[in-house]
């Protein structure tokens, strides 16, 4: 394999770039870059490009969607306007991003959608799962290009609808089982089991917001070590 390929700082490329291995971009590119190895976008680089590579590190400016097969890292000082997707994404403080970010296993940006997070956040049988759009596991199953399922609630809804969703989403998690969830806090499931299972599904009608005495711990909480 040749030495490190580089698009130098003063160079402008307009067109498609394909790399079998690694590529470093310090100049300007307008057009798609697809690398099978690592793609490094230097600090002064200006890209109006769709990027895809095995590993991508961005220190410069990119207008376009970025997809990495393994790891995507945006370093401080980077600016990206576009959608980001990779199994592992790192965004350092100081990186500026505007776009949709999708972590977790993904093959192509178009299909990518919260699949990992859908299962990550939801230990399957957990009845205490907070309301989640019922469509989510199904949306992930489709090779759809959509990024956000329409019914996803941005904010919480009334208790009645939460309960209704829990029931229907609980039914769907049974069918979801798409892939082994990425490391998920297991403690949460055991937490759920401790609670009275019935309390979940039949939340009473009283809608008054419950404001806990902040600062006070329940007896259960004291089980954990106090210091943090």
């Amino acid at each position: 394999m040749a030495t490190q390929s580089t698009i130098a700082a003063g160079t402008v490329v307009r067109g498609r770039i394909q790399a079998e291995g690694d590529l470093e971009v310090l100049g300007q590119v307008e057009g798609t870059i697809a690398a099978k190895g690592s793609l490094e976008i230097g600090e002064g680089a200006l890209l109006k490009s769709e990027l895809s590579a095995r590993r991508i590190v961005v220190r410069g400016t990119v207008a376009g969607n970025v997809h990495a097969e393994e790891v995507l890292v945006l370093e401080a000082g980077s600016r990206v306007v576009g959608d980001l997707s990779a199994p592992t994404v790192g965004i350092r403080p100081g990186a500026l991003v505007r776009g949709h970010v999708s972590t977790g296993r993904s093959t192509r940006p178009a299909e990518t959608r919260s699949r990992a997070d859908a299962s990550a956040k939801r230990p399957a049988e957990r009845s205490a799962t907070p309301a989640r759009p019922a469509a989510q596991p199904q949306a992930a199953a489709k090779p759809a290009a959509e990024r956000q399922p329409a019914p996803r609630p941005a904010t919480i809804e009334t208790r009645a609808s939460i309960v209704a969703k829990q029931r229907s989403s609980a039914a769907e998690t049974a069918t979801a089982g798409r892939r082994p969830p990425p490391p998920v806090v297991p403690r949460a499931s055991s937490q759920a089991q401790r609670r009275v299972p019935g309390a979940r599904g039949d939340a009473p009608a009283a809608p008054a917001p419950v404001v806990p005495a902040l600062g006070k711990r329940t007896s259960k909480a004291t089980r954990r070590s106090g210091g943090r």
Binding site: E30, L46, K48, T61, A63, V71, R79, V80, V81, V89, G90, I91, P93, G94, A95, L96, V97, R98, G99, H100, V101, T103, S114, A116, D117, A118, A120, K121, A128, P130, R132, Q148, R152, A154, T155, I156, I162, P182, V184, V185, R187, A188, Q191, R195, A203, P209, V210, V211, P212, A213, L214, G215, K216, R217, T218, K220, A221, R223, G227, R228
Partner: protein, 123 residues
């Protein structure tokens, strides 16, 4: 750690804690810092630093001065200063803050909307 205080106070001695095992359905408000280890269904709005520990499971919008998500959040997060998602954090929702960081291993499925100005040549 915060214990015995009735509510959060700005610049208070220690942050309030919604401990593990607690389940809150409804809005949570505070003026100071808050650490959540509990399960919350409802919006959380605090004036200071909000820390969602690893066991935290929050469904609802979250607003604070700074937010650290080490647990799971289903909902939007808005911060005046910064949002940090740690390696154990999982966020499904929009993230709005001047500074947003995501540790490798952390999960995010949603938009980040920082104020990004692109140079003319590639805008």
């Amino acid at each position: 750690m915060g214990r015995g205080s009735a509510g959060t106070r700005p610049g208070g001695a220690s942050p309030a804690v919604l401990g593990q095992g607690l389940r809150v359905v409804g809005r949570v408000r505070g003026e100071g810092d808050l650490r959540i280890e509990a399960e919350i269904e409802g919006d959380v709005t605090v004036g200071g630093a909000l820390h969602l520990d690893e066991p935290a499971r929050v469904t609802g919008s979250v607003v604070a001065e700074t937010v650290v998500v080490a647990g799971q959040l289903e909902g939007d997060v808005t911060a005046k200063a910064s949002v940090a998602i740690t390696a154990s954090g999982r966020v499904h929702g929009t993230v709005k803050a001047p500074e947003v960081s995501l540790e490798e291993g952390g999960g995010l499925d949603g938009r980040i909307d920082a104020d990004v100005e692109l140079p003319e040549t590639i805008a």
